[in-house]
């Protein structure tokens, strides 16, 4: 097993780097995309709010693998363009994560107590000021734990990119296994790596929660 590791270490490490990059960019872009979606939903903007609701409903009812297949096969066929496995996977992951993240942000925004909004209005703030100065800062903090839950889930889900033929960690493990056929040690290593990274993201999430979510009276994550 030592020999197996030494000889394939560079290849497997490249796979791990690809997984980390894929997950990192997905978390970044997914979170950014989720923000306007959650806000448009929260403000119930005519047409756009409805469109965001439909988007969230569609993604939450569709398997990740199918979203990836749509991005890799169906949409390029429909619109006549070419894409690569990792590019299609990244787009699919971002669109997928953003829907779940937007739902979590929306829950966060909704759990800001009404009395705070009324208090803001009583102070003479406009509706937009109330949203910008009270609802968003508090709602975003309430959403932090749920968001980190999504990041952990997304990190595990990057393995699905291997089904499109991307050589991230799982894809690399499968390739090496195809050559040497030592599935147990290879899958074991991958499992440990995923476990360690997922637990680290969870710990980071708890740290962020303690730092960012102050004990505001009447605010709780579940709302």
């Amino acid at each position: 097993m030592g020999d197996l590791l030494v000889r394939n270490a560079p290849f497997l490490l490249a796979g791990l780097r690809a997984t980390l990059a894929l997950a990192g960019w997905t978390a970044l872009f997914g979170t950014i995309l989720a923000m306007p979606v959650a806000l448009l939903r929260y403000l119930d903007v005519p047409v756009l709010g409805r469109a965001c609701a439909a988007y969230i409903w569609f993604i939450r009812g569709t398997p990740l693998l199918v979203v990836l297949l749509l991005c890799y096969f169906a949409l390029p066929a429909l619109f006549g363009y070419h894409t690569t496995a990792s590019a299609a996977a990244l787009v699919g992951f971002v669109v997928f994560l953003a829907a779940y993240a937007a739902q979590d942000m929306l829950t966060g925004l909704h759990s800001v107590p009404r009395t705070l909004l009324e208090g803001g209005a009583a102070l003479g703030l406009t509706r937009l000021q109330v949203i910008r100065l009270i609802v968003v800062p508090l709602g975003a903090r309430i959403a932090v734990p749920a968001l980190f839950g999504q990041y952990v889930r997304m990190f595990k889900y990057t393995s699905v990119a291997s089904a499109l033929g991307a050589t991230e960690l799982t894809g690399s493990v499968l390739l090496v296994n195809g050559r040497v056929f030592q599935p147990l040690p290879l899958l074991g290593i991958a499992a440990v790596v995923y476990l360690v990274v997922c637990l680290s993201i969870s710990m980071l999430g708890r740290w962020a929660q303690v730092r960012l979510v102050p004990g505001v009276v009447g605010l709780s994550p579940k709302g």
Binding site: S159, T170, P183
Partner: protein, 220 residues
């Protein structure tokens, strides 16, 4: 957009679509039953008073749910390839064990949420420990976690698509096969997307309707 829609080939392959749908449903049901069984056992251990049981539950939950489902399926399919389990069983085992960790957390929360007075009152009435669990504690825990069980089951239906990587002929796999046959790429994937949306919506509604009745019947 120069794409010309042609849905006829999909209609010609409707048998393949339907058999894929049937296998997706079968896999989801088997996976869900397995997940519920594991979830009840591990969740009960997690809510138990004995420390070793709780440690076991934490290790199971954290160890299993932090590893991707795909690896769980490959573990049974490739890792234990010496025992040559059928692909369907590998996928069902992976789904059950993985979703079982999530179910265990739900059951643990549901069980610890039932007030201690409930079991004390039942004990005062002279019920045995096992009867208390079955007639008093479980029904209440079940009802408390019904909404979460509904989302767990719709998650499981969606996750069953990963069985396609080990060539189980469920919806996603059949879609690939039909696509290779007909080259009606967009139509095929659009079709299975709609079917998944339907399945997910129906399954979570079903669970929400079923779970409370399970609880009420045990009361009678």
């Amino acid at each position: 957009m120069g794409y010309r829609f042609d849905w006829n080939p999909i209609w010609h392959h409707r048998d393949q679509v339907l058999s894929g749908l049937a296998i997706t449903i079968a896999l989801s049901i088997v996976g869900l039953l397995g997940a519920l069984a594991i979830g009840m056992a591990v969740g009960t251990a997690g809510a138990a008073r004995a420390r070793p049981l709780r440690v076991f539950a934490v290790l199971y939950v954290e160890g299993v749910r932090n590893v991707p489902l795909l690896l769980h399926i490959y573990l049974w399919f490739l890792g234990f390839s010496a025992i040559q389990l059928p692909a369907f069983l590998c996928a069902a085992l992976g789904l059950s064990i993985y979703s079982g960790a999530y179910a265990a957390e739900l059951f643990r929360t549901g069980l610890t949420g039932v007030p201690a007075q409930q079991s004390e009152a039942a004990a005062a009435l002279g019920l045995r420990r096992w009867t208390i669990l079955r007639k008093v504690i479980y029904p209440q825990a079940f009802r408390a976690i019904a909404p979460s069980l509904a989302s767990l089951s719709s998650q499981l239906v969606k996750d069953s698509s990963l069985a396609s990587v080990v060539a189980v002929g469920e919806l996603a796999y059949e879609a690939g096969a039909i696509d290779a046959d007909t080259f009606r790429t967009f139509e095929v994937y659009a079709t299975i997307t709609v079917l998944y949306l339907l399945l997910v919506t129906i399954s979570s509604h079903l669970i929400l309707r079923l779970v409370p009745t399970v609880g009420e019947r045990s009361h009678g």
